[in-house]
């Protein structure tokens, strides 16, 4: 009895693994990825253009001391960055300067190395003063422009593009689902939306290839994205905006966590499925 059950579970596992092996070994020629990667590069450059414009408006408001306006602009300005985070992160010095959190720094909020979006968020929501952060605003603007320049000169590695979908889900699963990203403004749902959009874009660009390799995978992934977008849509406020993170029900937070974990688990197979090392 015991043996037969063990055999049963092993057969199930083997069947699953054979299916995966078959998928991984099927030929997706590197040439087939050229189109999707080029399109992704366009997507990134559109987003960085928006990021530059939004960051300029945001940092101008900060420097002008217009706290209300700066607070309105903060969550939407971040979205273009969050959509393209997998490639933006390739420049770790800039990612740290633009998007690090207080706990990345030894002295947290008081650390002179703490800059970028979240330092300004802290000034707007907690300190309620922009007097001390005008140089931080200038530095953020300069870093975003630098990012634009470096991305323009970057040859996008296909494995980073394909792997980027999973990277975005890992980000959400590890540090965002808890609401610790935008801890002063509680505008986390904007970031979630942008991260999911960025991941879904990659799946969209690879759709014909994935469809050919594993249609069931695509169907499951689409369903999980749909649940995520539908869940977030319940918290829409205004044209583009969202309610604050604390409005997210416990039930929906767990639901999002489960879908994000599943997407992270499934999308982690995307590179192998498309034959990328």
């Amino acid at each position: 009895m015991q043996m037969s059950l063990r055999r049963l579970s092993r057969v199930t596992l083997l069947a699953g693994s054979l299916a995966l092996c078959a998928a991984a070994q099927a030929a997706v020629s590197p040439l087939e990825l050229v189109g999707p990667v080029a399109e992704y590069k366009l997507y990134v450059s559109e987003n960085i253009r928006t990021l530059v414009a939004d960051t300029r408006a945001f940092t101008d408001a900060v420097k002008a001391g217009d706290i209300d306006k700066a607070k309105t602009l903060f969550p939407s300005a971040r979205m273009s960055y969050e959509r393209i985070e997998p490639v933006a992160e390739l420049f770790s010095d800039l990612d740290s300067a633009i998007d690090s959190r207080a706990d990345d720094h030894e002295k947290a909020e008081k650390d002179p190395g703490f800059g970028g979006f979240h330092r300004l968020e802290y000034a707007l929501w907690e300190e309620r003063s922009t007097d001390a952060v005008k140089p931080v605003a200038d530095k953020l603007m300069a870093d975003v422009l630098e990012l634009q320049q470096r991305l323009a000169g970057l040859t996008f590695p296909p494995e980073k593009v394909v792997g980027g979908a999973a990277v975005l889900m890992e980000e959400v699963a590890a540090t965002k689902i808890s609401g610790e990203e935008d801890r002063y403004s509680h505008t986390d749902l904007w970031d979630f939306q942008a991260n999911f959009e960025g991941a879904y874009k990659i799946v969209e660009l690879l759709r014909p290839l994935v469809q050919r390799e594993d249609a069931a995978f695509l169907e499951k992934t689409d369903a999980n994205f749909k649940t995520v977008f539908d869940t977030l849509a319940k918290y829409r406020e205004g044209e583009q905006g969202f309610q604050t993170y604390d409005k997210l029900s416990d039930r929906d937070r767990k639901l999002l966590a489960a879908r994000v974990n599943t997407l992270a688990e499934d999308l982690s197979k995307l590179r192998g499925m498309l034959g990328l090392d």
């Binding site: 063990r6 579970s9 693994s17 995966l20 092996c21 489960a258 590179r271």
Partner: protein
Amino acid sequence: MASNESSRPAGPCPALPGRRRVLGGAAALGTALAAWQAAPREARAQSAQPDGQVTNAPHNAHTRDRVPFLGEHQAGVVTPRPSAGMIASFYVLAEDRTALERMFRTLTERIAFLTQGGPVPELDPRLPPADSGIVGPVVPPDGLTITVSVGASLFDDRYGLAQARPARLQRMQAHPNDALDASLCHGDLSIQFCANTPDTNIHALRDIIKTLPDLLVLHWKQEGSVPPIPEVPGAPPESARNFLGFRDGSANPDGRDAAAMDRIVWVGADDTDEPRWAHGGTYQAVRIIRNFVERWDRTPLQEQEAIIGRKKASGAPLDRGSSEHDVPDYAGDPEGKRTPLDAHIRLANPRTPASDANLILRRPFNYSNGVTKSGQLDMGLLFICYQADLERGFIAVQRRLDGEPLEEYIKPVGGGFFFTLPGVRDAQDWLGRGLMAATSRA
């Protein structure tokens, strides 16, 4: 070395009152030393390992221990407790009954594999590996048991299970000394992992998390351990010590006594108000009980012993005998002159005919988590017990303990009540099948 050891505790004695107690302590120490001397040769030879490299894996002779998975009851309840344990509590995210059934079936498959061991499938190296690999390419069973229990919240309106809810299943309520932390309490599902090594438990937990990301979201977990002791041929079995330094489990019912287990632990036909599907299951009570060990270590020995009701060194009752297996005579000590009336063991088990109904099977582990904000050790007892009737068992015992002197040194901070599902009987069966069948509308 032995003479140094024996003279050290004797040193400060003359300065203390109560010479008889001191002598008693020395006698107990003598017994412990004798045991230490009787067995040590192999152990010393093992620990020497003159040829070993620093990072060679330590040896464990029990990695091939295998606890059968199939049976009327789940393993991990009356199974002798190994040295590493863990409770993980989950939210169940299944969207409907079909998904819930998939969860139970997949859990069953994974538990069958993990507890019996075997090779892990090899995948294309361009894919993430099928297994975390932390116990190697061939998973050793290592005495692993995985025990699945369901919380009261699983019987809410989501899956239509309410009509088949076990009669005594309820959400854990706070007792007066509790300071329950919501992030360490309750859950739709609890999974108990027990094995010879903590890595085996962690491997199994990671496997389940990886296999069921859409259906289970981790809520909290607590790991624990019990210290192994050397095997001394012919010596009576000893209970392990908790982080208060006392033996814990001396008066536990005998898990090998099937009749006693049927009466004390397993829900069965004589529990007439329980649903039929629940027969073969049991109630699991989990409590994360922090011990204030710095304060405890600064408490006089005789006070510690009076609070617990046992000799610390031997585990013997305060009124008689020299072994933890000696039975205290409370009837002969009605005023609590030898064993205080509010001693922990006397309150927990007054050993009257009536208190026989409140027996529980304890299966706790010691935990050590780090440092509190005050700079004190965050450690204590991962208390786990099983009983056929939660109210007559843990709840009744804990009510008797409420207000005990030990409370000054302990603080329950988490846990929950769960119903441990009946066992998986054969290759066609799966965990929760009876529950699902009992509530199926088809």
